[in-house]
């Protein structure tokens, strides 16, 4: 290992390290702009020039590799003179408009200019002015401030996987810009705001809202997908003004998905429920908590007493905290009901009988970046888990083979080794082919062996199997579509068999922030109760809803709405009114994640706790407190808690260890049926990225993005031709009794016999099953 001397102290550094790495190791700060630990080295800003013994010129620390015996001075007269020279160049054309710049107070250029800039300028020529660029609803530009560090450009190429920003032009005319008139559409785009060392790229929703130094920072965890990105919300006067990433190498590294960053706007949506409300005939009246809770307790008690606990169904969102979910399941069971579930969008619960534990990622999140073989099954991973997708992209860049079995050949922005793209009802058959290919290769596929003998193996399946047999670090990951699939249990069983045979770890990409927590806490039937599917197919007299919007969340939205409308009593614990006034009887305003203490268990089983960042809005209360009072009113035992921490201690006595002990993706006893794929056109009905949960649905800036565009009907060009339809025209989509009129668009990445119609959206809520069959007709 090379030894070097840096600013007088001797250190030993890793071979191949740069002077920047060495300085970091020695705790020495070298000023820099273009260097970023997650991006390739550009070595172009020249701010990091340092003096190196025997080198005739100052050298850029970010790009200069250490050699044994090197002597480096980062603050010598020569080094500082070079650094000051660069700072002067950076400032000559800079507008110096700090007083009106959103980056003010948190600007790398401003900070370093204090140390390295002169108090007056030797530059007496006219300054450059750069025209603004329209990057879409999330990012504001003040391009005259750009210092050409190229971080934003490299981010697109290297991390987001799509080069949406480039730097055309030469010399002083070099400008950061999007392609032609395109906006930035990456689901990770907001990260360029953090990367931009100046105020050239800033948050559009946050623009001119507050100054950095007025805001206090509170640690929290993203409530959206199962990654559990760590973040800081910035708070002023009891209000959240923005969200930024909190570095955690094991989870989100230094990134956030746009969903994590911009959903805070929904906290102040007009639709926020801030006072308890009860239905009074056709009217809704605001009441105090006491009255509302008494009514809920009374109704539930009465229905239980007359019809038994089974008359009550409890549906909870997997975006709720550990503490909330724990108390909710306790309440359900206290009322004598095992009808509780968080899997509203699932349709096949057959694996419940045979699963060994809670479904989880099967490996640490960080290992996603280091896999060398990956098979994604039914995973729209870029939209469902944007940062997990980013890690997989890094793995592929490092040489991993990533294959997919899916109902759409969506662009994953990385190389895909092998693919089997089939309509949803053919997914089981496709996965069975891989198992069969392994079997043909002489591997033991365990219990499924007997039922896959007759499966004909395609070349693609054989290639996927071959890929899984190689490599050392490998995983088979089941995505949302596989989890929601009408034959999810068989997919699970086959995946497990393939994992056992090939040595790949089997995992589930959790769709929600607390999907794993909900399972670990028993927010699903444990003693013969009804799961989400049955609760809605076999309507209950009463429903307790927490954080859900069943008309959007449910696998079959039509059916869900019918069940709710028909119930005698529905209470919704919710942060938003939404459509609840349509079917509920009592609305209880509960705190969103920023207004309550709580915790989430992410996809790898990591328990992450947080405090409330701000006080609950209006009369909103943290749900754990609401449930505590409700438990007491119902005279149920064990509802005496004085803090969220106390609830957590009961829910997970050993904390994360309790979680880990309950994680297990093994499954047995699921029979493989092998029916032929369903005749006709299959619907591919996923939840769009900005419809995942009540928060993102109400985040205005996110709703203006291309990803939030109203659902359309996407079909393969061949299908459009075969049906005699017209691309761009309106079509009627009919699914059972449901129908919708939508615009038809072409996407040749879909199988010819599948049609993509997003679920989880008001425009398609009337359609029914997410993965059912449908028909199209011309209008």
């Amino acid at each position: 290992m090379p030894h070097i001397e840096i600013d007088g102290s001797e250190i030993e550094v890793a071979p191949g390290a740069t002077l920047m790495d060495a300085a970091a190791q020695a705790g020495i700060y070298i000023p820099h702009f273009c260097y970023h630990k997650k991006l390739s080295i550009a070595a172009s800003c020249r701010m990091c020039l340092v003096e190196v013994e025997k080198a005739p010129k100052p050298l850029p620390a970010c790009a200069t590799p250490v050699t044994d015996g090197m002597k480096v001075w980062t603050r010598s007269e020569r080094a500082v003179e070079a650094q000051k020279g660069v700072m002067e160049f950076l400032l000559i054309n800079h507008p110096l408009d700090c007083p009106i710049c959103d980056q003010g107070g948190e600007c790398q250029l401003q900070d370093l200019a204090v140390g390295y800039g002169a108090s007056n300028s030797r530059y007496a020529e006219p300054k450059r002015v750069v025209r603004e660029k329209e990057l879409g609803p999330l990012i504001s530009t003040d391009m005259t401030r750009c210092i050409h560090c190229s971080r934003c450009v490299r981010f697109g190429q290297e991390i987001a996987g799509m080069m949406e920003l480039g730097m055309p032009g030469r010399g002083e005319h070099t400008e950061v810009m999007p392609w032609l008139e395109h906006q930035v559409t990456s689901e990770l785009s907001g990260n360029v705001i953090d990367l931009c060392p100046v105020g050239a790229l800033t948050s559009k929703p946050f623009r001119y809202k507050a100054r950095g130094w007025e805001l206090s920072r509170r640690r929290t965890v993203s409530p959206h997908d199962g990654l559990g990105a760590n973040m800081l919300v910035h708070v002023k006067d009891g209000r959240v003004y923005r969200a930024v990433p909190q570095d955690n190498e094991a989870v989100n590294e230094c990134w956030l998905a746009d969903r994590d960053r911009y959903s805070y706007e929904a906290l102040y949506s007009e639709d926020r429920l801030t006072r308890p409300m009860v239905r009074d005939g056709d009217r809704w009246v605001e009441v105090d908590w006491g009255k509302a809770l008494a009514q809920v307790a009374g109704a539930l008690k009465m229905l239980r007493d007359t019809h038994g606990g089974d008359a009550i169904g409890v549906l909870a969102s997997p975006h709720q905290t550990v503490e909330e979910l724990h108390l909710l399941q306790k309440l359900a069971r206290g009322l004598g009901s095992d009808n509780i579930d968080h899997r509203l969008n699932h349709s096949d619960f057959a694996a419940d009988a045979g699963r060994a534990g809670a479904a989880w990622l099967g490996l640490p999140v960080a290992e996603l970046s280091n896999l060398d073989r990956v098979l994604l099954v039914g995973a729209t991973v870029r939209k469902d888990q944007p940062l997990a997708a980013q890690r997989l992209r890094q793995a592929v860049k490092a040489g991993a083979q990533l294959s997919i079995i899916h109902a759409a050949d969506d662009d994953l922005l990385c190389k895909v080794a092998h693919k089997l793209v089939v309509k949803p009802s053919a997914l089981v058959q496709a996965l069975a082919q891989v198992a069969r290919a392994l079997q043909e290769a002489g591997l033991d596929v365990g219990a499924v062996a007997a039922s896959i003998g007759g499966v004909a193996v395609t070349d693609a399946a054989r290639a996927i199997a071959g890929s899984l047999r190689g490599g050392a670090r490998k995983a088979l990951l089941l995505g949302s579509l596989a989890q929601q699939h009408p034959r999810a249990a068989e997919l699970h069983q086959l995946a497990w068999a393939i994992g056992q045979a090939s040595g790949a770890r089997v995992g589930f990409l959790s769709p929600a922030a607390n999907s794993v927590g909900a399972q670990v806490l028993g927010v699903q039937p444990a003693g013969g109760g009804r799961n989400a599917g049955r609760m809605l197919a076999e309507p209950r007299k009463a429903y307790v809803l927490m954080g859900v919007e069943p008309e959007l969340d449910a696998y079959d939205a039509r059916q869900a709405l019918e069940a709710l409308r028909g119930a005698e009593f529905v209470v919704a614990l919710t942060a938003f009114k939404g459509a609840a006034p349509d079917y509920a009887h009592v609305l209880l305003p509960i705190a969103p994640y920023t207004e309550t203490a709580g915790s989430y268990v992410n996809m790898e089983g990591r328990l992450q706790a947080f405090h409330g960042a701000v006080k609950p809005l209006g009369e909103t209360r943290p749900a754990w407190k609401v449930l505590r009072v409700l438990g007491n009113l119902l005279e149920l035992p064990g509802f005496e808690f004085d803090s969220a921490e106390a609830v957590r201690a009961e829910a997970l006595p050993e904390g994360e260890a309790t979680v880990r002990a309950r994680l297990d993706n093994a499954v047995e006893g699921v029979a493989l049926a092998h029916p032929a794929p369903v005749e006709g056109l299959d619907r591919v009905g996923e939840t769009p990225i900005y419809q995942l949960d009540p928060l993102v649905r109400r985040a205005p800036a996110l709703q203006k993005t291309a990803d939030a565009a109203a659902p359309e009907v996407w079909a393969h060009g061949e299908l459009i031709a075969r049906l005699g339809l017209e691309e761009g025209g309106q079509v009627r989509v009919t699914q059972g009794e449901g129908a919708a009129v939508l615009r038809l668009r072409r996407d040749d990445r879909l199988p010819v016999d599948a049609v993509r119609v997003a679920a989880g959206h008001p425009l398609t809520a009337g359609l029914g099953a997410r993965l059912g069959t449908l028909s199209l007709e011309r209008l």
Partner: protein
């Protein structure tokens, strides 16, 4: 008549034709090494002995450069010829491509053989598109005659050359920007290390040489390194093409032995235009520092002598200026060129070239300030040696040398708001 290494075909009818080339011993060097399976080390040794120094501007010893190439590296390797020729004042490489393309092809093929390359690329400046076309023709001829492509000269060895034309950006002549450009990316220099010899075109080991450098290779292989060395002088082997422009009676390319006195070259070019006196010379292309007449007239034309005199032989573009030239105006032109051609990635060059140009422009237009000259020296000092590629230094060279040698003219301009020279 003295020996010419590169432009000898001009003494024949149909200089560019394969017949002319072959009739005068062309491709014999290639045939010989292929037939004899001459070991690569031997060829590199001869190139080292020849003291051939890169003709693209830096004068780096070619044999040494070739020895850096990891010849036994198992994957693909490339040879790239730099015919981007964008340096103001330089117009020699186009003449080689136009009048002696086969010698360049032979040189590239020998380089490919020696360096274990899989293919060669010739990057041709975008503003000489006809040469791109005639070069493609020459490649076809060579392929048809078995000197290029599959199974060259029946040896069983394959090597092909591809042409790539630029779009006229000066920076694409910088070797790593050139590689980026071939790869289809924006032409921007890469940070070095890694050098192209280890991480070049498409990330593979690559050797890049100037057109004239590569065109000299067949001669060296044919006649031996020692004879090439003797054409010139120690450490400066061979002949060199000088592109003489400016105030001479017969501007043009002159191929003379390295070490030829400048005065002799000036005479060959017909001397300073009639009735005028030599004032200054830029001896190696616009990036080279200017030298006043007195110094220049005592100089011989070789890398070492010009360096000793405080400038660079560079690409061999000799720009001759007589007493009518206003040095402030001349510098304004040069400063504008670098301002316009900076690729813009490194801060000192992107910001500094514009700053220097604007200050010189002000002086030229009668708005100079007394402190401007010190400012220019200081700004230049903050650029040179602190950038990714040599364009930064190249931009500073003229500014520093013009002010150093002709400070009085600049001061006069600032003080009197007009030119000291002429009308």
């Amino acid at each position: 008549m003295s020996t010419k290494v590169c432009l000898w075909t001009l003494d024949h009818p149909n200089p560019a034709s394969l017949e002319t080339y072959v009739a005068n011993g062309g491709y014999s060097a290639l045939k010989k090494i292929l037939a004899e399976k001459t070991p690569a080390e031997q060829i590199i040794e001869q190139v080292k002995i020849s003291a051939l120094r890169g003709r693209g501007g830096a004068g780096f010893p070619t044999g040494l450069k070739w020895s850096f190439m990891p010849r036994s590296f198992p994957g693909d390797k490339y040879v790239v010829c730099n015919t981007d020729e964008g340096e103001p004042g330089t117009f020699k490489d186009r003449d080689i491509v136009q009048f002696n393309p086969h010698q360049l092809i032979e040189g590239m093929v020998i380089a490919g053989y020696t360096l274990g390359a899989r293919a060669g690329y010739n990057y041709i400046h975008g503003e000489i598109f006809e040469l791109y076309q005639s070069w493609e023709q020459a490649l076809d001829e060579a392929r048809a005659a078995g000197y290029l492509g599959k199974n060259i000269c029946g040896s069983g060895w394959d090597f092909d050359i591809h042409a790539h034309h630029g779009y006229g950006a000066y920076i694409c002549g910088e070797e790593t920007a050139l590689l980026e450009s071939i790869e289809g990316k924006k032409g921007q220099p890469r940070f070095k290390p890694p050098f192209p010899a280890s991480f070049g075109l498409y990330g593979k080991p690559t050797t890049i040489n100037n057109t004239e450098t590569l065109a000299s290779i067949p001669w060296i292989v044919k006649h031996g390194g020692q004879r090439f060395l003797e054409l010139g002088k120690p450490n400066n082997g061979g002949t060199k093409i000088f592109s003489v422009s400016g105030h001479v009676n017969q501007p043009g390319n002159y191929e003379v032995p390295l070490g030829t006195p400048f005065a002799e070259l000036l005479e060959m070019a017909g001397g300073v235009r009639d009735g005028h006196r030599l004032k200054a010379v830029i001896p190696g292309g616009s990036s080279a520092p200017v030298l006043p007449a007195e110094i220049m007239m005592d100089c011989t034309l070789d890398f070492d002598a010009i360096a000793k005199a405080g400038s660079m032989l560079g690409s061999g573009a000799v720009i001759v200026m007589d007493e009518t030239v206003c040095m402030v105006q001349a510098l304004e032109r040069l400063a504008y060129f670098y301002f316009e051609e900076s690729c813009g990635q490194c801060t000192p060059c992107r910001e500094g070239t514009g700053w220097m140009y604007r200050v010189v422009h002000r002086i030229e237009h009668g708005q100079g300030r007394p402190e401007d000259l010190d400012l220019l020296m200081s700004v230049g000092g903050n650029i040179s040696g602190r950038t990714i590629c040599a364009l930064g230094d190249a931009a500073v060279g003229p500014v520093h040398s013009f002010i150093k040698h002709f400070r009085k003219e600049f001061e006069y301009h600032i003080e009197n708001k007009r030119c000291m020279v002429g009308d």
